[in-house]
Symmetry: C2
Subunit: 316 residues, 2 copies
């Protein structure tokens, strides 16, 4: 099968062996895959991953007889299903988990990938592929509300105008009284406008005292700004996975009794439910370009130069 592989280097291969479904797992014929910032990091060595890349996809389950079944998206953490974490519904934190295209499991930039049946979520017929393929990062935005429910009167600041920042801002703008997206790029902020969402450039003055600050800048420096903008006893959602060390005093976190919570992967049902409630959410604005899978190297090159999403068309 066609596949995008990272071993010594990033490569497109036309003749990769197809994966077999283990018991309880399913084969999925991938229609479209997205290139995520994590993929770009893996190509630089993050996680030490080797194999087929990709963890954002929409595709069709393959029936045992090979016929295409339901259109699905898939949660990326393949959990053991029996440990304490799994019993708590936290398969995303199963210590034995493998992660699609990130850790110990070949990814979805291929004609076929495999995942546990329990990970697959049927996509409503009315949801186009180009929206469905964004369910993974959208669900990661929705996860903030799973971890930190809002009652609706809050003032929220989202730092970072990348894809995840925009998705967080859009989701939270439907759940809080006032949401301001803060970024460094006027053109990205212009793209973010939707409903009541406000935007501000990072060097403009921004009123502090937010109830919730989302740190999605992707840089270690974002946290210090988040701490400045958060009210006493407020909360900061830390979305940036930054390998570089933070260097800052956390004394203000203690003095102001701020709660800082790390936030990573969400539940796809939450993302799908949110999309069903807000069919006008402008997800397509996040898509910069699409390439057939055999032009994956060009696609990765473009993805590295844009903060928007580049898609790979894989199957029909």
């Amino acid at each position: 099968m066609k596949a995008v592989i990272f071993d010594e280097a990033l490569r497109y291969v036309p003749d990769q062996a197809e994966p077999e479904a283990r018991p309880g797992w399913r084969r999925i014929r991938v229609t479209t895959a997205g290139i995520c910032k994590t993929d770009l990091e893996i190509v630089k060595g993050y996680m030490g991953f080797r194999g087929i890349l990709g963890h954002e996809f929409v595709g069709r389950i393959e029936a045992p007889d090979g016929r295409p079944g339901a259109r699905v998206v898939g949660e990326i953490n393949a959990a053991c299903g029996v440990c304490d974490r799994c019993a708590q519904g936290l398969g995303r934190h199963c210590p034995k988990r493998s992660t699609l295209g990130i850790f110990n499991l070949d990814g979805c930039m291929a004609e076929v990938c495999v995942l546990p049946a329990a990970n697959l979520v049927k996509v409503p017929d009315e949801l186009p592929d180009d929206r469905a393929v964004l369910i993974e990062p959208l669900s990661a935005a929705c996860e903030i509300l799973e971890q930190h429910p809002l009652r609706g009167s809050e003032r929220v600041i989202v730092l970072g105008d990348g894809k995840l920042g925009l998705l967080c801002a859009w989701v939270l703008s439907t759940a809080a009284a006032e949401v301001t997206l803060v970024g460094k790029h006027p053109e990205k902020l212009a793209q973010a406008g939707w409903r009541t969402l406000r935007t501000a450039l990072a060097d403009e003055p921004i009123a502090p005292g937010a109830d919730l600050v989302v740190e999605a800048t992707g840089s270690a420096a974002g946290l210090a700004r988040a701490i400045e903008l958060c009210r006493p006893r407020g909360a900061i959602a830390l979305k940036s996975t930054v390998a570089a060390p933070h260097q800052l005093s956390l004394a203000p976190v203690v003095i102001n009794e701020i709660t800082l919570f790390g936030s990573r992967c969400g539940q796809f049902q939450d993302g799908l439910a949110w999309l069903a409630r807000y069919p006008d959410a402008p997800l397509e604005r996040l898509i910069a370009a699409r390439y057939p899978i055999d032009q994956a190297l060009e696609a990765f090159h473009q993805a590295a130069g844009t903060s928007l999403k580049v898609l790979l068309d894989i199957g029909g």
Copy 2:
């Protein structure tokens, strides 16, 4: 009146002017005051405070005619009483607050101090002064349960065998299934033993996966250890106010979706209620020595050399 002052230097003065009670405030005749690590930091320049030191005390309200009234302890943050924070019951975070002996308000290492009437909490007759004077740090330990209620089945690790670490460990040992106090000093750990509390030396192997880790080491390095020991989706209470910058990657906080909450001052009612429930709590073990107020310099010298509490006897 007799008082301990920090201006250019730490000084005992026998003839300081007595403070007047503003409307709604009360004069308190101080019986005993405690020397806290924060006092030692202030003497090194922390907070830029100048004035009468001290924020831990037990004393008697002075009636308008000058007669001694109820025996009280006092919450240290004098709030404005009318702002949004105060309306939420968070006077501890009032932006206009002054803080006894720490910020814009003369402290309690004097024969008389003043505080808002609302800050004063009557001490039960059966509670000796030497326990009552420890209500402030004890309440700071109880505050962890205000911010992060436990259901009783949790495994907890407390890092740091200073006074606050011991108090946190004692309080949490009455609320969780298993509490381990981790410290560097065998003699302090030996003093900590009470009820079901376990102790471990910092260089012993400690099983990770704790539901809650309390970081009370007083050093910036403690947080990295806390992150290692906390389970995915677990919580870390950050008690150390460290001015030095932390230097660590918070990526594990994101990947494991850990919640980190700063924790500072507690409510005295919580500390008093806890002491009433656990009259055998060995608070007296925390007291190393006592000095009359006119030997305050010697007392501070000893306090700087011990992790235990040094008291000042001020009034009868």
